[in-house]
């Protein structure tokens, strides 16, 4: 079971800040494909991966990063701190 978190407009499009996902996805990209095929709101949120960033266990990661042993995956737009 994976904790999946969403922030900013990704959270708004999906409609919730976090959820638990039962998945066998081996990489972030596979997880995204699974989520996209669930419902339109996911397809919409993940329509342009260039506009998204991902963190694995609270560290920035890549789309091809493996999910083996991972507890938490977060999706969000590029950060706008400062």
């Amino acid at each position: 079971m994976l904790d999946v978190l969403y922030f900013a407009w990704v959270r708004e499009r999906i409609g919730e800040p976090r959820e638990q996902v039962e998945t066998r996805a081996a990489t972030v990209a596979e997880l995204v494909d699974e989520l996209r095929s669930r419902e339109d709101r996911y397809a919409l949120a993940f329509s342009d991966l260039a506009a998204l960033r991902v963190a694995i266990d609270q560290e920035l990661a890549d789309w091809d990063s493996p999910l083996d042993g991972v507890r938490e995956v977060a999706f969000f737009p590029p950060m706008t701190g400062g």
Partner: protein
């Protein structure tokens, strides 16, 4: 090294009290980010990723401290509701010489902008909109 992420306002003078008091400090640089009213902005909401934010900033600050041998370093970043004129964040650096203090402060600012998990939503006359990251913010990292 002191790093805080908080929703409450902070007192600039109080935060700098005793800052950089240890070591042979010859220069101290302070930067404060303030909410502007540009475009009729009435308020701003800053969202962050609680589990990751502090760790991400600590990593950035540790990198700055190592690269410029800082004697002290302070980062405060707010989240939640802010209005024009409010201080969003501050960084302070202390070093033997000013070049290191200035450069490290700029490095911290550049990385906080695009590597610390904060997202700003602006509210104005045309409604609400998430602030989009600028290409130039990402480009700014390449100079380091």
């Amino acid at each position: 090294m002191r790093i805080r992420v908080q929703s409450e306002p902070f007192d600039l003078a109080a935060e700098l009290e005793g800052f950089g008091a240890e070591g042979d400090v010859g220069a101290q640089v302070t930067f404060t980010g303030i909410v502007r009213a540009t475009g009729g902005l009435t308020r701003m909401e800053i969202e962050h990723y609680p589990g990751m934010t502090l760790r991400a900033i600590e990593k950035i600050a540790a990198e700055a401290a190592a690269r410029w041998s800082l004697d002290d370093c302070l980062v405060i970043h707010r989240y939640g509701a802010l209005v024009p004129g409010d201080r969003i964040m501050m960084v302070a650096t202390a070093s033997r010489h000013r070049a290191a203090a200035f450069e490290a402060a700029e490095f911290l600012m550049d990385y906080l902008k695009s590597r610390a998990p904060f997202w700003k939503k602006e509210y104005g006359p045309d409604g609400a909109a998430w602030v989009a990251a600028k290409d130039e913010d990402e480009d700014a990292l390449s100079r380091w």
